[in-house]
């Protein structure tokens, strides 16, 4: 049985201009110790999917349908108190901006010790000792001294290491990293991701990596789910997805990666058009206005995810009607 299993999750947001269907009938599984990447452009629903696992959507967002089964329990049935005990303990989250995710007036030590103190019955000093260990673990030198430092004394990369230390504090079964490296330099990105990957492997924790960086996906993910307009359009193992993308959107994404052996002076491939307006989703397949293969049927039929090869899923009616 998989560690996390999401079935037909739908999330909508009440806005001033109408209801936005941010996530629409999304289903996926994550096995223990596995790294799943969720890729998609801004507004494709990947962050909202992640936030709904821990039910951190705020007042505007509601989970209108679906199940989130973690360790055999449907998280949506649990009372707030039980969810709170799972947050940070069995499922931890790493946020996008290390600059603002740390409290500027608290020392690093206090912030790393916080989840331990919250979830383990430990004294504050024991929690601080453990925080020191964690800071060592994420390769920050002089851990003892660093406990008393403030976030502004840390660089972006070090802050993200601190965030990782906080996420790992209670040895969670699942870590959700929401674009953990977007705000960092390219050279630092690789270090942070390798660190994250190594430490999760060590703990045998599953990792959901939310990103829009396909290079990151190729190196660190076991499986990939591609999201577009609030739905998963394709999902496969990372290697398979790169070699044989089967959805027109994924194909377009792969084609738009610049390569070193490309013709000098040749133009970069792009996907024509704009991402869909979430308030006015196109009927049928959300991708059809931009799809080079769009057929008449794509304007009416909503495609659902189907297994086209072993462990390779795709949601596309157009392809089905051609082949």
């Amino acid at each position: 049985m998989s560690l996390l299993s999401i079935n037909n999750l739908s999330v909508s947001f009440q806005t001033d201009r109408g209801v936005v269907q941010a996530v629409d009938q999304v289903s996926f599984d994550v096995d223990a110790g596995e790294t799943l990447a969720i890729v998609g452009e801004s507004g494709s629903g990947k962050s909202v999917t992640a936030l709904s696992i821990l039910q951190l959507l705020g007042d505007a967002g509601t989970i209108s349908d679906g199940q989130i089964v973690f360790d055999g329990q449907n998280l949506l049935d649990l009372p707030e108190k039980d969810i709170r005990n799972i947050r940070g303990d069995r499922i931890a989250m790493i946020f996008q901006e290390p600059m603002s995710s740390l409290n500027p007036v608290l020392t690093i030590g206090k912030q790393v010790a916080e989840p331990i103190w919250l979830h383990r019955k430990k004294t504050w000093n024991e929690a601080l000792d453990q925080a020191e260990e964690l800071i060592k673990k994420v390769s920050i030198p002089d851990a003892r001294q660093r406990l008393d430092a403030y976030p502004h004394q840390f660089s972006g990369g070090m802050r993200q290491r601190v965030m990782i230390a906080m996420a790992l504090a209670c040895e969670p079964k699942l870590i959700i990293a929401d674009e953990p490296t977007t705000a960092l330099d390219v050279t630092v990105q690789a270090q942070i991701l390798s660190l994250l990957k190594n430490l999760t492997t060590e703990l045998n924790s599953a990792l959901i990596l939310i990103t829009h960086d396909l290079g990151v996906v190729a190196r660190y993910a076991d499986r990939v789910a591609v999201m577009y307009g609030g739905r998963i359009v394709e999902s496969a193992t990372a290697a398979e997805l790169y070699k044989h993308p089967k959805h027109p959107y994924t194909e377009g994404l792969m084609a738009s990666i610049p390569t070193l052996d490309g013709e000098p002076g040749s133009r970069l491939q792009t996907i024509e058009g704009q991402p869909p307006d979430l308030l006015h989703m196109p009927a049928g397949c959300a991708f059809h206005p931009r799809c080079p293969y769009a057929a008449e049927i794509c304007k009416h039929a909503k495609p659902s995810l189907k297994e086209v090869e072993a462990n390779h899923f795709r949601a596309c009616v157009g392809y089905e009607s051609i082949s």
Binding site: R84, R87, E97, L102, N103, V105, P115, H119
Partner: protein
């Protein structure tokens, strides 16, 4: 070792902060020094005063300042300097207790309305609006006339008065802090709301709280003097600066101008000092000014 050095570090940080203030805000540092002197006078009044609080000496009535009585004596032959010191003591007590109460009320109301927003915010802040429409002094006079004068009454009333009005300032900054990523991160870590308020929000409003408290001490001392002047303050023979000013000070103004000058100058100096010190604190502790 670390336990040993912790208070030392605390103290040195406090000192370092004030050294920085002395450099960048000399006037504020001067205010701080006067404030500190006032505190010392208040706390150690019993040791510093050369004469007793109500030690009368009819032979030495209305004497002008001399070596024996630095600030002269009043119409009952009491040493004015000693009474000023004991007046400082009373001002410190009233000032700190009322400002402390005001700060607690401001924090509770401000943090709760600022963090939760919505209906809670609506209800409580409309009450605050209504409360703030009453002029301070009118409210004070009405309430004191009903419950009668006394230290406790004054502390409670001034505390409520300034506390409720001050909640606005705390609320405003909490609204800004609430939207920061780290409060969401704390939530994702499984923290209860009360933990987020205490652990994450409160330390962030502390600079504002410190400034608010300091300026409130000055305001309370002035308000208490005003009440005493009107005869609604701490009842005699307690030596408040306000009653010294209005009672003996006014009656014997021509015979003994020192009787009015001494408490008047002390009051002006202390309130002025606290205000410039509070201004300097605000400038130095404001997060937007940090690092500059």
């Amino acid at each position: 070792m670390s336990e040993m050095s912790a208070p030392y570090q605390q103290k040195s940080r406090f000192m370092a902060f004030h050294q920085r203030m002395a450099k960048s805000k000399p006037l504020g540092a001067f205010g701080g020094a006067v404030f500190a002197l006032f505190l010392i006078c208040g706390v150690f009044a019993d040791l510093l005063a050369p004469y007793g609080l109500n030690e009368t000496n009819m032979l030495e009535r209305l004497q002008s300042p001399s070596f024996l009585h630095i600030l002269g004596t009043d119409h009952l032959g009491r040493d004015v300097f000693s009474r000023i010191l004991f007046g400082a003591q009373l001002s410190v007590i009233v000032g700190f207790m009322a400002a402390g109460l005001a700060t607690v009320i401001s924090i509770v109301l401000g943090v709760v309305t600022g963090y939760f927003g919505g209906r809670t915010d609506m209800l409580i802040q409309r009450f605050v609006d209504a409360w703030m429409t009453f002029p301070d002094l009118v409210l004070l006079i009405v309430v004191i006339s009903i419950v009668g004068p006394g230290v406790t009454q004054i502390v409670v009333i001034l505390g409520c008065l300034y506390g409720i009005a001050g909640s606005r300032i705390i609320r405003g900054s909490v609204i800004g802090i609430r939207e920061n990523m780290y409060t969401h991160a704390a939530q994702s870590m499984g923290a209860r709301t009360i933990h987020i308020l205490w652990f994450h929000i409160l330390p962030n409003v502390m600079p504002i709280v410190i400034v608010l408290f300091t300026t409130r001490v000055g305001a309370v001392i002035l308000a208490e003097a005003g009440l005493s002047f009107l005869g609604l303050g701490v009842p005699p023979p307690a030596p408040t600066w306000g009653s010294m000013l209005s009672g003996t000070g006014r009656t014997y103004m021509y015979l003994g101008p020192w009787l009015a000058l001494a408490p008047g100058i002390c009051l002006t100096m202390v309130v002025y000092a606290i205000n410039v010190y509070g201004d300097a604190l605000r400038d130095l502790l404001d997060p937007r000014m940090r690092g500059s």
